[in-house]
Symmetry: C2
Subunit: 250 residues, 2 copies
Amino acid sequence: MQRYFVKNEQITEKTIKILAEDAHHISRVMRMKPGERIICCSEDGQTALCEIQEITDDLCFVSIVEWIDEDKELPIFVTIAQGLPKGDKLELIIQKGTEMGASCFLPFFASRSVVKWDEKKGRKKVERFEKIAKEAAEQSHRTRVPVIKDPIDFKKLLLDSVNYTYKIVAYEEDAKRGEKRNLSSILQKVAPGDSLLAVIGPEGGLTEEEISKLCDNGFITCSLGQRILRTETAPLYILAAVSYHTELLG
Amino acid sequence: MQRYFVKNEQITEKTIKILAEDAHHISRVMRMKPGERIICCSEDGQTALCEIQEITDDLCFVSIVEWIDEDKELPIFVTIAQGLPKGDKLELIIQKGTEMGASCFLPFFASRSVVKWDEKKGRKKVERFEKIAKEAAEQSHRTRVPVIKDPIDFKKLLLDSVNYTYKIVAYEEDAKRGEKRNLSSILQKVAPGDSLLAVIGPEGGLTEEEISKLCDNGFITCSLGQRILRTETAPLYILAAVSYHTELLG
C-alpha cells in the first residue's frame, strides 16, 4: 500500500490532511479516488491505515481507520558519518542507506575530501538529500525518515561522538591485515535502542592522524570483509551487516 | 599496490607480459618506471608480486618476484541471478557486487523485466560489464574477476540451478510477513567451496508463478530484513550478509 510521511501538525484525532506534492502524488500520479486506502506515518514513527475522503490536486483529507503496529525499523539507531565524497555518491549512499535502515546521515569534511561545499548551494543540496531520503523511506516501507545533517568538520564529529553507545570506523588497513572480529564483536553486544556511529572515509580514505584521533575518542577500527570497498559501498555493507545480525540471525 | 589481471597465456615461468590497456595504465596513468612493483593475478586466482623490467606505451614486461598467498575471496561462490532491471542498474550491481565478492552475475529475463535486449548491442553491453567487473576487482584487491553471463530466460535459470549447493530467492512478501530465519539458517550451513545461487526479481518483483516454480526447483524464499529493498539494493545486501557471516562472525 502506498505510504506517505506527514508532520504531526497535519494530524487530528480522526483525520489527516495531506498537502502539496504528496496530495498531487495521490491524485495525479496514483490516480486514487475517495474510498481507497493509504498508509500515513507520523514524525514519531506511528503508522495509520487511512481512507481517502476528499481529494483535490493539492489537498487530500483522509480519515484514520486504525493505528497499526508496524516493526520496520532496525532495532538500533545507525548514524552514517560519511567523509564527503565526490560527485553524486552521497545521493546514492542516502538512497540505498535509507532502504537499508539508517537513522541519520552526518557528512563531514575529511582531510582527503576534495569536494567544495558552498553554504548557499549546500542548503539546497541538503534539501535534495532530504527528499531522496523521504522517497526511499516511503518506497522501502519504513516508518521513519532518516535525518540528514549539514556537513560538519572533523573536530565537531569527535565532539558529537560522545552521544553514541558504540562508535566504529571502517579502516582498510584492517582489511589488509586480516582483522576480522571487531565489527561482529560489537554487533554481538548491541541491545535494542542502542546507537551506533559508523565513520567512513572519503575516496582515498582517512589519514593516519584522523584514525588515531578517532581511536583516542573511543572508536573501534574494523574491516568490512577481506576486500577493499569504495567509499559509497562501505556504509551499505555496515547497514546490511547490522540488519542481518540484529534482524535475521537466529 | 596496483593490481592487474592477466591471462594464463601471458605468464611464463619467470615473467609476465602485460598488454594494451593495462600496459598503458601502468606507463601513462600510473607513470611507473622499471624497478617499481605491481601485483598480477592469474585467471585461476594465483597472485604474484612483480617488478617492472621493460615498459613501452602498450607493452610491459615484469619479472615475478614471488607468488604470494592471498585470501581475498569469499569462502563460498555466490552467483547473483538478477532479473534484468531498467537503465544502468545492472552496472551498479556489477560494480558494487564485485567489490563485495560475487563470483558470477547471471542476468535473466523475468516476467516483469521491461528492458529490451538486442542481440548485437547486448554483446557490447556484456563486454562493458566485464570491464566494470575487472576494474572493480582490481580496485577492491580481489584475486578473481567475476564471470558475467549473457542473459538467459527463466526456464534456463531453473535448468542451470541444479548446479548449485544452495538456492535462494529474495521475496518481499516474506519481508512483509516477517519471515526472519531463512537466510541465516542457510548461511549457518554453508561450507567453504559451496556455491550459492541468489535470485533477485526486477523492478516490480517476481510473479507468484515464478516464485512457485523456483520453490518447486528447490529454492528457499527469504527476506532481507524488515524493509522492502529496490532491485539493485537486494544483491548488495545478500553479498554483505554472506561476507559478514562467513568472514567476520566469530
